[in-house]
Amino acid sequence: MGDELRGKFCIVGVGEAPSPYVADSDHWELNLIACKRAIEDSGIDKREIDVVISTGSMVVNRPRHHVVLCEQLGIPLARFTENSAMGGGAPTSNLRHAIAALNSGMGKAALVVGADNRLSGLGRGGAPETGPSQYHNAEFEVPFGPIMATLYALVCHRWMHEFGWTAEQMAEVAVAHREHACLHPWARFRTPITKADVLASRMVCTPFRLLDCSSFTDGGGAYVVTSTERARSLRKRPIYVLGTGGAYSYYYFEKWPDLVETPRSIIGAAADEAFGTARVGRGDIDVVAVADMFTAVVPIALESAGFCGRGEGADFVGDGRIGPGGGLPVNTHGGNLSYGNPGMGAQFNHLTEVCKQLWGEAEDRQVPGAKLAYVHNWSGNMSQHGAAVLGTELGL
């Protein structure tokens, strides 16, 4: 985004949908509760909200999802709405959409939501089939039997081969996420695990064992964005959007020029834009949230975003660095790996969690003195990337 937008818009409230998984949770209930909590957290009058961006659902096929939400929330007159079904990438991608709408003068305050009930809505049996049906090319990929994990496995396996990354190193990512989740009352998985547990879990799809894979849940989150000027008279300390980045290109792997360089360059483009606008260095960041649908994507995300050098991602995530109390805590709510992956709004809790960190509201998970956060979400086959650098007034 343009340099002049640095710190011009703020996140002023967040809400999280009921978690962990409860049987028969309803897609609309999750969305509405997340929105209600975000509105209440911000203290803004709901009638001020005139931009509504929703993320849709993997469970409920509802055209004009965003307008139905306005109706059920009693938002009397929205000026800009869209259902931007960016999947996991939605939290930061749709933050950019919200800022674009607000900065254009089309609205004054934006509500952005992503919540879904993938686990109860699709079930344990149905959920893996959403891979073939939604992500893979039905003509040239599905007949060869890739499961949801396979396409990520193909990329991650190549990275592991190229740089000599080991299953033991990836297991450390699973352990760190579980350690975070053990500190979060809403995480789906809260039983501590060891590296040995990960390595002993059943093989799903090489190189991923069961505990290398994220698990489905029901949940999601929402946030309210408005101008810094308006934010200053609301109840909470504003969280400044210092920079955002977006990068969208390939979808099906057949088009990728290279399994290592293509994702590296796309992730790098989103991160460079966000950090460049924010005028913040990677070393200044206190807390991180990145996509973690599988263990090995975490070092790929961090390395590609410039937190470490080429091929160093697996070393970087070791020795407890990304776990609780580590040098760079990542996904302190437990991430998709252990908090859970609710579906179309898969990574909204990544964003709401870093906001809680910046407000000092992360309870047992609090990173002391956190003032700058980096969030990077993506969706599909590593294809839709949004990134953001967020900060308190101390990070300005």
Partner: protein, 137 residues
């Protein structure tokens, strides 16, 4: 979410039909741009390089190398249950394009990065033959 036709049967598109017709004859055919020479896979209405609509189908070598692979141990559909473990691979053809496929005649523990492979076809119905790749000399 099963379908009447099953997952193994490709949803043949108007664009992709020449590929499957060639496959029935045991030939690997890939879309090709007559203007800039780029191979295009999966098939499209346009060349993604030069946006030309002047496209044709060309038989390709059927030879390539394994760029990555993943052995599936858990079938997502009963249709694949008898096949596990099977190895999905991305093969880089000599013509430069990547193809998602299935390794044939290779035990999971023998699959390797950079393995040289060649196409073979498995007839799964009167209409459909799927391309697999097996080790080549």
């Amino acid at each position: 979410m099963t379908t009447e036709r099953g997952w193994k049967t490709p949803r043949i598109s108007k664009l992709g039909r020449p590929h499957w017709e060639a496959a029935r004859r045991g030939r690997l055919s890939i879309q090709h741009c007559r203007d800039c020479g780029k191979y295009i896979h999966y098939p499209s209405s346009l060349c993604e390089n030069c946006l030309s609509e002047n496209l044709e189908w060309q038989e390709v070598s059927g030879r390539g190398t394994v760029e990555s692979f993943s052995t599936v141990h858990r079938a997502f559909s009963p249709e694949f249950a008898a096949d596990v473990p099977y190895t999905v691979a991305l093969v880089r053809l000599e013509e430069g394009i990547l193809l998602l496929t299935w390794l044939a005649e290779v035990a999971p523990e023998e699959a390797a990065f950079g393995m040289r492979v060649e196409v073979v076809f498995e007839e799964i119905s009167d209409e459909i033959s799927l391309h697999r790749f097996r080790p080549s000399a």
